[in-house]
Symmetry: C2
Subunit: 334 residues, 2 copies
């Protein structure tokens, strides 16, 4: 198989009878080339199968066009939906996404960020995990913009996009009470992400304000299986809850399935359930889950927009978005 393969701007220039620079200008938006030169260059390029080498271009411009997406558990409904949205917007604004799949181990995100630096990514968007403070500084020093989504970090520099997780609890608590529920529970995972904890705290506080106590249980990761386990724990108690707020839709689906199929508890008849994220499955008729919608499009839009714009420099780099309550059938009397 042939080895020396890629055709360079020089070859195009030779064939078109112009200089390298003319070729370069032809492929640089907004550069001044005469219509004729331009046409001849394009012809030659087409004939030769020339494609700009973005590696070399990035080297010169000190701007690769690459944006790193750092994420664990990509196959999860919420994560993959966010990923879709972000990549789409990124492409529309002329960037290209580099995907780094982290595991849930400690140095994982830091490792990913180092990768981003080596490829001279213009920016990194962190969808899961938390980078170490030092590596964040390293990225910023290297001129890399950082976006943290739902990470709720305090340090300045990166753009932080978060939801009003704490306020969600209040709305659910009210709905549960209105539905006549008396024994409230919160099903959480053990991972203890700031946003998950905020949902828990908000719910507990709101319930307390209504004069009710919440039994909290935490287990495993935020997936379907953990929801089942949590249901097993909570539904075998002597004082069984008649309302559960699950920190995540996946937890809620697992919880609901266990309640119905293992304990023959009717939802919402004997048990009201609410989730968080509004994943696609929440709308499926088997679940019909009342939940809070992650404003995925808004999140992605704000992130990408911030990347494309000249930085506002001293403006507060923290955005708080609203998670809308989506009423469905898993709470009585919606």
């Amino acid at each position: 198989m042939s080895e020396k393969v890629f055709v360079s701007a020089q070859e195009v220039a030779d064939r078109a009878g112009v200089s390298r620079s003319a070729v370069s200008r032809t492929f640089t938006p907004g550069a001044s080339v005469s219509a004729q030169t331009r046409r001849r260059v394009l012809e030659a390029a087409e004939a030769l199968g020339y494609h700009v080498n973005e590696l070399a271009r990035g080297l010169m411009r000190n701007e690769s066009g690459i944006v790193c997406l750092i994420v664990s558990d990509v196959a999860t409904p919420y994560r993959s939906a966010l990923l879709r949205e972000v990549t789409l917007l990124l492409q529309n604004s002329g960037k290209v996404a580099m995907l780094i799949n982290t595991d849930r181990s400690d140095g994982s995100v830091d490792h990913a960020l180092r990768q981003a630096i080596r490829y001279r990514a213009d920016a990194s968007i962190i969808l899961s995990g938390m980078p170490d403070k030092s590596i964040v500084q390293l990225c910023l020093r290297n001129g890399q913009r950082l976006v943290l989504i739902n990470r709720d970090d305090e340090q300045p520099g990166p753009l932080r996009i978060n939801l009003d997780d704490d306020e969600a609890g209040g709305r659910v608590a009210t709905a549960f009470v209105r539905a006549g529920c008396r024994t409230l529970a919160f099903a959480n995972s053990e991972v203890g992400t700031p946003s998950l904890m905020a949902r828990e705290r908000g719910f507990v506080a709101a319930a307390a304000a209504l004069g009710m106590e919440v039994s909290v249980e935490r287990h495993g990761w935020t997936g379907y299986e953990a929801g089942k386990v949590l249901a097993q724990r909570m539904l075998t108690r002597t004082e069984r809850p008649d309302a559960v707020f699950c920190a995540t839709d996946l937890l809620a689906c697992g919880f609901m399935d266990a309640a119905r199929h293992q304990f023959s508890i009717s939802v919402p008849g004997q048990l009201c359930i609410a989730g968080f994220d509004d994943i696609e499955q929440a709308a499926w008729s088997s679940y019909d889950l009342t939940t809070f919608a992650q404003p995925i499009s808004a999140i992605a839009a704000r992130a990408v927009e911030w990347l494309s714009h000249p930085q506002p420099e001293n403006s507060e780099q923290s955005i708080r978005l609203h998670a809308e309550l989506v009423w469905r059938g898993s709470i009585r009397g919606g």
Copy 2:
């Protein structure tokens, strides 16, 4: 904010009191550097925060380390699971994934492949859509390796990984008959992907061999909603099917939900259902769907392995993998 930011090998060399090349060699696996030089370089690099510039390295080596993943509908359970697997393996073998999200329009994949060429990706893996013949040739001429997953294309050059979709039908048909079903149906989407059509043909043929006819209906895309619509069409007929093979798990979930919640048909009591893909939701107790498992790990492994190995050149570049039947509760008498 500071502008000239990235630290170069030269600066490291200066600080360590060695030459540029020494630095380069230190970061090139398997190059000969004395332990002492190596140590001094590493110290200087650490102190300065040096990171190899992969853009420049790729330019020299003519090998970027980038592998392009071309995929539409990333947020779909099957796609995102495959994506997770591929990115993971890619990372383990020292490559990095560039994600391009295509829509279902015609030139979309071609556009993505051009992007891949511009970034001098070492390879592209196509998970959805079909590239034009000419662009495939262009990629190959440019030394870019190509992997087509479940695309069932005939042209030589790319590695083609496919399943035995056609054989699946036979196993389902037998199971349906054994369950006592008499009125068979196949629920497909309109997209007409080779693999989807192969499932349909295989099922129809197998049923014919058993002396039964299959009513086929096609609608929309391969998602949950389309499954509901198909159910509406097929379950309102005078001669209602008592067994349905859905081309996709998502279709099956939608079909099952419509059957149960709109038509109060019990599954598997009055209606047996089978799907294809074995997405996570198929195992959820609300569905408990009998289905065929995409051998996701094997697919990813074969793809990545082929990319990393020196090409076998003349060997047949087509792999056919087996989709295992996963027995669950949506067919009677498993």
